[in-house]
């Protein structure tokens, strides 16, 4: 199967996302002003200019100038000016920094994509001539709009980097280009776009009923507060539970790694909670937490086994990660930030592994309860991932393996099935132990109401402990109050 224009656009998009990943963190954004980045910005503007020029002439096949073609030509001119403003001393381009390298990859993908499209035309006396059945499609008005919209999107991302680099001269030119590329919002245009851009989002719309039952997504924020983190954990897990069998083999593999991390961090949290419970003199809860910790430790072993299988099965590159990976990734980061002494914690080789003190994680019994609930939520993720995997394995999944990977999978299918099955069962055991621990925490509080009443928020605490009855669960998303937000659902 040959590389298609769609493949190249898809990989370009991922490299644009990578570019933004290198640009966003404060400690990395210096790369925007690097000489290698400035040079890449200029080169990327040139590739976008080539796109706009091809669109402006309908790949050479256009006989009369349309409004879109005129916009494309103006856009191309502004992009060329942007490039010339950014072009420096090309003779000694230094080694590319990571940000520049991601830009380089994005423009290489876009350039190669344009070459693929252009291969459907050949040079004639009056410019390019269409030569294949697809030439007409490529030069059609709807494709023109699609391509201009794409140029607009890429140029807008380029603008973010140029702004961060502080190159006001280029900002002005690039903004002009974007203005020209911006689709004119006529109803006709809208219709065209709808027909030419069947995006994966369409699949989501089909299941609109299900999605209404899911909580709103709570995007991960730097330095987010405890309440947002706990609500976020629950939302991440609910979305993961609803996402079903992963579409791509690489998602299966990534989910195995992130679920292993979720299990290990959960174990770490439970150990701190046990220490805290001992200190708070809650022996029954301590025992139940110890049991849960044992089960979660075993769970981590099971996932280690599953990740080992995924190392040995080759996954094809035509398998982008599914949306569910962002939930799985956010879940890991949120759990990590609860327990490690770094508010900006992320998994990495140099990640902080110093733990917060137990009394910081959970000052009072009510906090122990809430964090235990959060772990209980988190452990639903391994259950969901394993259950979905089992369903997938039964129905001939995963797809998206290389031919070699298909053979490797045949040999390991049974082992993998067993691994997921054990993981699911162990996660279920851990859930039961966690359920017992929360029950003990609730009853310990009932026996000693004075303990919480002595705090300044007895009402909220009781509500948070679920003592006000099940109706409280429905108030979760309504008010901003601490008690209401953290009420178990």
């Amino acid at each position: 199967m040959g590389a298609t224009f769609g493949d190249l656009i898809a990989v370009a998009d991922v490299h644009w996302a990578e570019t933004m990943e290198w640009l966003e963190p404060l400690e990395l954004s210096w790369q925007a002003g690097e000489r290698s980045t400035i040079s890449e910005l200029g080169q990327t503007a040139l590739v976008l200019a080539r796109y706009a020029e091809r669109v402006g002439t309908g790949f050479g096949a256009q006989e009369r100038e349309t409004a879109a073609a005129r916009r494309a030509r103006l856009c191309a001119a502004s992009l060329r000016e942007t490039a010339s403003v950014l072009q420096g001393d090309e003779e000694s381009v230094p080694e590319r920094c990571e940000l520049a390298r991601s830009l380089f990859m994005a423009r290489q993908a876009l350039g190669c994509g344009l070459d693929l499209l252009s291969a459907h035309f050949e040079v004639g006396e009056r410019g390019l001539l269409p030569t294949t059945a697809q030439s007409e499609v490529i030069a059609s008005p709807s494709s023109t709009e699609w391509l201009l919209t794409a140029v607009d999107g890429y140029a807008s991302q380029l603008l973010r980097v140029v702004e961060k680099a502080g190159r006001t001269d280029a900002v002005a030119k690039l903004s002009e280009a974007i203005l020209h590329a911006k689709p004119k919002r006529s109803p006709e245009d809208q219709g065209l776009r709808a027909t030419t851009m069947p995006e994966p989002r369409a699949a989501l719309e089909a299941g609109a009923d299900e999605i209404e039952l899911l909580p709103e997504r709570i995007p991960l924020r730097g330095g987010e507060g405890r309440e947002r983190a706990l609500t976020g954990i629950r939302a991440n897990v609910q979305w993961l539970e609803a996402s079903g069998v992963p579409q791509s083999a690489r998602t299966w593999r990534s989910l195995a790694t992130s679920t292993l991390m979720t299990s290990e961090i959960s174990g770490q949290i439970l150990r701190l909670l046990m220490a805290r419970c001992r200190r708070l003199d809650l022996p029954e809860a301590t025992d139940a937490l110890a049991e849960a910790e044992m089960a979660v430790g075993e769970l981590a072993d099971k996932w280690t086994g599953v990740t080992a299988v995924w190392r040995e099965v080759s996954c094809d590159r035509r398998s982008q990660l599914d949306q569910m990976m962002s939930d799985a990734g956010e879940l890991v980061v949120r759990l990590g930030r609860l327990v490690y002494a770094d508010r900006e914690w992320r998994p990495s080789a140099n990640a902080v592994t110093k733990l917060v003190r137990p009394q910081v994680l959970a000052p009072e019994a009510v906090d122990v309860y809430m964090i235990t609930r959060a772990v209980e939520d988190a452990i639903k993720a391994p259950v969901a991932v394993a259950s979905n995997a089992l369903a997938g394995l039964k129905s001939g999944q995963p797809t998206g393996l290389t031919p070699q990977g298909e053979n490797q999978m045949k040999l390991r299918h049974e082992r993998l099935y067993r691994g997921y099955l054990q993981a699911r069962n162990t996660a279920a055991e851990a859930q039961q132990a966690l359920g017992r621990a929360t029950q003990f925490l609730v009853s310990a509080d009932e026996r000693r109401p004075g303990r919480l009443a002595a705090e300044s928020f007895p009402f909220q605490a009781r509500e948070a402990l679920g003592l006000t009855g099940p109706e409280a669960t429905r108030t979760r998303s309504r008010g901003p109050g601490k008690g209401a937000r953290l009420t178990p659902g």
Binding site: V11, E98, Q108, S314, P347, S348
Partner: protein, 120 residues
């Protein structure tokens, strides 16, 4: 594509693959210690993904069986290895003329970029 460019690309792919395997081995040794997944899990994952991507390059698949992986002196530590892989894949993207080769390298580059962040 000329023979010499093909040879050069093949050699670059082989160098990148060799370095990625070293990174994998490094990560997998670390992963033997329980509780280490949040430090080395993503490194192993992305190195494995990058290797899989490279192996889909038509020029690569012809080479693996026949040639021994080439080695290149590289900067110390996992970060140094990853920087070398990144440079090598960048060269490969530049050298690749066949869209299939190019796409495979571009896809590997996504994972190498993530790998580098996982080592920060």
């Amino acid at each position: 594509m000329t023979n010499s460019t093909t040879r050069e690309l093949r050699s670059e792919l082989s160098i990148a693959a060799g370095l990625l395997k070293k990174l994998q081995a490094m990560a997998r040794t670390e992963l033997k210690t329980p509780g280490n997944s949040m430090r080395w899990g993503p490194v192993d994952l992305e190195a494995t993904n990058a290797l899989d991507s490279l192996s889909t390059a038509p020029t690569f698949s012809k080479s693996v069986e026949q040639e021994q992986e080439q080695e290149r002196e590289c900067r110390a530590g996992a970060g140094g290895l990853a920087a070398e892989v990144a440079a090598s894949v960048e060269k490969a993207v530049d050298l690749a003329q066949d869209p299939e080769d190019k796409l495979a390298c571009l896809d590997a580059a996504v994972h190498v970029s993530r790998l580098q962040r996982a080592l920060l």
